[in-house]
């Protein structure tokens, strides 16, 4: 072979390399081919785990709700408990003992019968500290459950016998509460209390000691009891669920299959929705909300979540309640909501969001808001005048200027916008110099937990529709307090509410606690959240509600658009 030939051959080879490269790429990708399911929705980022007991996020809750079912199910609109695995239940007159009657046809996806024993196993697992379940404390309302949850392995069996849970027969579960818990029935439809399949779990633990977690939730291994079951899973891509033929109410499950996508990018979610490849997205780019609000398939509804700032009350000058109150008063909330947030967020002077039934929600003292622009301006002027007077009373003025403050927030466009508005408000109304500091999420949490901040962006999402889920966070011993604020009176009020049997008096006690919090202001209330769903116009059984929870069991196609 001549040199020229060899050179030519090499050139050809180099080019030929591209062809198999491309072919290989296509072949690899073709393996990933999966025609879309009947209904596709975006679930934000990849879920932490499918194990319903050990997760706390909304995305995880949505998956758990499709795969599993608790004793009760939430009504898709009112969220009232409907029969689930339990076909009926009785609450004893003292409000402490509830007897659940399980339906005879409750089955696991592998056809096995689901019994009251399954609940005993699952709830015991939830409570055991080794399970590391973030919501284990929710079940501490059961008699003896807290002591069991705090027990060492040696004391475990003895403590378990004292827990107020019993299964007299396969279809009866008796729950004795330590104290009347208004929201206990609602809890039974909350994912930590869903049953898990004992045999498959224990088999995975035995066969795969180091990695049982990834084995028992694998498609083909996972045994569940909800309206859908898992058939395929790809990390960071999708969960494919199909209707579970063993589900007791399969006749009323309309959809044959679901794709739950892990879509992190909000704009991509919107693109896919607009192109008809996704049927429901639960968040949209903030900048497009004004246009999207005009669409019939856009649903914005009050959401059980609050946006507020934590104040580090251990740092002067923020240890002075007059200063905190001045800061809280000087913010122009209605303008912040209308001009910056634009999704219809309600301005808030409370920690709890609106929409809690029967709760006399208190507000921090402020000038009454009028309906029109002039009244709003007058109210704001009055509040800001009071704020300036408070700062003067605290000893700040031309002679002693207020020291600069820093707002800490986690990296996000919206949080930056809000922080800039607040900084401008405080600078204009009170002459306070405010600096902004953003940190990535985990560093931000670290700073907040260790009180390394002046003011810190915060939010809280309610787990169940009750003020307790918000107020409990600011008790002295709560890990979620993170303000350095502590009040024995506040703690006592929240504890008294937990013991109170009478529903109205209980809510009054919680309102008193919140009023105290809003007097002391370790938090600066700002606004309530709204959910923002773009949903296929022909999907029925999907309703806006305060928890933004949408059980897929009730979804069906309608002939005509909503």
């Amino acid at each position: 072979m001549t040199a020229a030939w060899r050179a030519r051959l090499r050139n050809v080879l180099a080019l030929a390399l591209l062809v198999p490269l491309a072919a290989l790429a296509l072949a690899l990708a073709r393996r990933a081919r999966l025609p879309r399911a009947e209904f596709v929705y975006s679930n934000g980022s990849e879920v932490t785990t499918l194990d319903p007991a050990t997760v706390s996020g909304q995305a995880e809750g949505r998956v758990a709700m499709a795969l599993f079912e608790g004793l009760t199910v939430k009504h898709p609109q009112t969220l009232a408990p409907l029969p689930g695995v339990a076909e009926r239940w009785e609450v004893a007159p003292d409000g402490l003992t509830t007897t659940f009657h399980l339906r005879a046809d409750a089955r696991w996806s592998n056809g096995e019968r689901l019994t009251a024993e399954d609940f005993l196993f699952s709830w015991r697992r939830l409570l055991e500290p080794e399970t590391a379940a973030p919501f284990a404390y929710q079940l501490w309302c059961v008699r003896g459950a807290e002591a069991f949850g705090r027990s060492t392995p040696e004391e475990r069996e003895a403590r378990w016998r004292a827990v107020g849970l019993a299964a007299p027969d396969a279809r009866t579960l008796v729950v004795e509460l330590a104290r009347p818990t208004a929201y206990f029935l609602a809890l039974t439809s909350f994912h930590p209390l869903f049953p898990v399949h004992r045999r498959s779990l224990e088999e995975a633990q035995r066969r795969f000691p180091g990695r049982w977690q990834s084995e028992w939730v694998r498609p083909g291994h996972l045994v569940s009891n909800g309206p859908f079951k898992l058939v395929e899973r790809r990390v960071n891509d999708r969960l494919r669920l199909v209707r579970n033929p063993e589900y007791w109410d399969v006749a009323s499950v309309a959809l044959r299959s679901l794709d739950i996508l892990a879509l992190e990018h909000i704009g991509t979610g919107l693109n896919l929705y607009l192109a008809g490849e996704v049927d429901w997205i639960d968040r949209v780019p903030a900048a497009l909300v004004p246009q999207l609000r005009r669409r019939a398939d856009f649903q914005a509804a009050p959401y059980l979540a609050s946006y507020f700032y934590r104040v580090n009350v251990t740092r002067p000058p923020l240890d002075d309640v007059r200063v905190r109150r001045a800061l809280a008063l000087a913010v122009d909330r209605p303008t912040l909501c209308a001009a910056i947030l634009q999704k219809g967020e309600p301005p808030s002077w409370s920690l709890t969001p609106p929409g809690l039934a029967g709760y006399p929600r208190p507000e921090m003292r402020h000038a009454p808001q009028g309906a029109d622009e002039a009244a709003h301006a007058a109210a704001l002027a009055a509040d800001r005048a009071e704020a300036r007077a408070l700062l003067a009373a605290a000893g700040y003025g031309p002679a002693r200027p207020f020291p600069p403050l820093e707002i800490l927030f986690n990296t996000s466009e919206t949080h930056r916008d809000v922080a800039e508005v607040l900084a401008a408000d405080w600078s204009a109304a009170l002459g306070i110099e405010v600096k902004l500091l953003n940190q990535e999420w985990k560093s931000f949490l670290d700073s907040q937990t260790n009180l390394r901040y002046d003011l810190s962006r915060s939010s809280w999402i309610g787990d169940y529709p009750d003020p307790n889920t918000f107020l409990e966070a600011f008790t002295s011993r709560s890990e979620n307090n993170r303000t350095g604020w502590s009040s024995t009176r506040y703690d006592a009020l929240v504890a008294a509410a937990a013991r109170e049997v009478d529903a109205e008096r209980r809510l009054a006690l919680l309102a008193e606690a919140e009023a105290l919090l809003l007097e002391e202001l370790p938090i600066l209330p700002l606004f309530g959240y709204v959910s923002q769903n773009l949903v296929h116009p022909r999907l029925g059984g999907f309703h806006p509600n305060v928890l933004d929870e949408h059980p897929p069991k009730f979804w069906h196609w309608q002939e005509r658009a909503r």
């Binding site: 949850g149 180091g210 192109a275 979620n480």
Partner: protein
């Protein structure tokens, strides 16, 4: 050649060990832990989680457990191999451990699922890079000084300067919502590939074009090319047989590390086109303080960069006989 490869393999192990050790320590030195969240965990719950993943151990013990010569976990023995079933644990047994964030997957599973996706996308992006970059570079060099050259150079500069999310947005606007030819995002069909691979490959194509042009211009002025021309060879033959071979050297040198980068994916392109590749994990694992996953992707990247650089050094000797492997090694 054999000696060269052996020496490279030796250095490879040293590099790998250094990367593992330094990343292991640095990662844990960063503030914030894997289990912190807006809703703080009950201290007992956090303690259980830390115990499950051995984060309550002293650092040296965690390190030895991770690398694998020793094993103190409940079912293991102090020295791995005592029971005769497996000679090593941890990294030495290619066990990258469980992910802290995606608890239903081991790091090995995550990589096994996401690497092929990124590799497929990257391979296509490389095809774009070479198919666009080489002809444009050659054309610009041959027609240097003309308007065509100017236009191509402008294009290349734009390709490098425009951030990929801008290019992606524009292309989605045109091909998805304007013409309706392609799906906006997703994975599985040829249509799903075209936009993301083009977006990913464009800056590389631009670099390849510039390097090719510069390399060719330099070579075309060399004596041996002038000699080839002088002896009456047709210009095309001079270009292809004599000039191009030498001119491609910088391109090949660039392609090694570029390929490692392109194959391991891109956070932005994967996010915009909802592609379940490995690029996302490079950033998210660090943000989530998912130590094992962050370590896993770091290792993959190290191996790829090292392997491809070795390959490039070997390829360079084929293109230019003046380069010897001993020097390269």
């Amino acid at each position: 050649m054999t000696l060269f490869l052996l020496r490279r393999a030796g250095w490879f192990l040293v590099t790998l060990w250094l990367v593992v050790s330094v990343s292991f320590v640095l990662m844990r030195a960063v503030r914030g832990g894997p289990f912190s969240s807006e809703r703080a965990l009950h201290p007992a719950v956090e303690q259980s989680l830390r115990a499950r993943y051995h984060l309550d151990w002293p650092l040296w013990k965690q390190y030895l457990q991770y690398v694998g010569p020793l094993d103190w976990s409940a079912e293991g023995h102090a020295l791995v191999g005592g029971d005769g079933t497996r000679p090593f644990g941890g990294l030495l047994a290619l066990d990258l451990g469980p992910s802290f964030k995606y608890r239903d997957f081991t790091v090995g599973e995550i990589l096994a699922q996401s690497l092929p996706v990124s590799a497929a996308l990257g391979a296509l992006a490389l095809v774009w890079a070479l198919a666009l970059g080489l002809p444009c570079g050659i054309l610009a060099a041959v027609r240097r000084g003309t308007r065509l050259d100017l236009a191509l150079r402008l294009g290349a500069t734009l390709g490098i300067a425009l951030p990929n999310f801008v290019v992606a947005g524009l292309l989605v606007l045109v091909f998805v919502f304007g013409l309706g030819w392609l799906p906006p995002a997703g994975w599985g069909d040829l249509q799903h590939f075209l936009l993301p691979s083009f977006v990913l490959g464009l800056p590389f194509a631009a670099y390849v074009a510039r390097l090719t042009r510069a390399g060719l211009l330099e070579v075309l002025n060399q004596d041996y090319v002038r000699t080839a021309r002088a002896k009456g060879l047709p210009p095309r033959l001079v270009l292809v047989r004599h000039a191009l071979r030498a001119a491609l050297l910088p391109v090949v040198t660039y392609l090694g590390p570029a390929t490692a980068g392109i194959l391991t994916g891109s956070l932005v392109v994967e996010k915009i086109f909802a592609i379940p590749g490995v690029g996302t994990h490079f950033v998210n694992s660090a943000l989530n303080r998912d130590y094992p996953l962050a370590m896993g992707v770091t290792l993959v990247y190290t191996v790829l960069v090292y392997a491809l650089n070795t390959l490039v050094d070997a390829a360079a000797t084929l293109l230019d006989p003046r380069i010897r492997l001993e020097e390269a090694g």
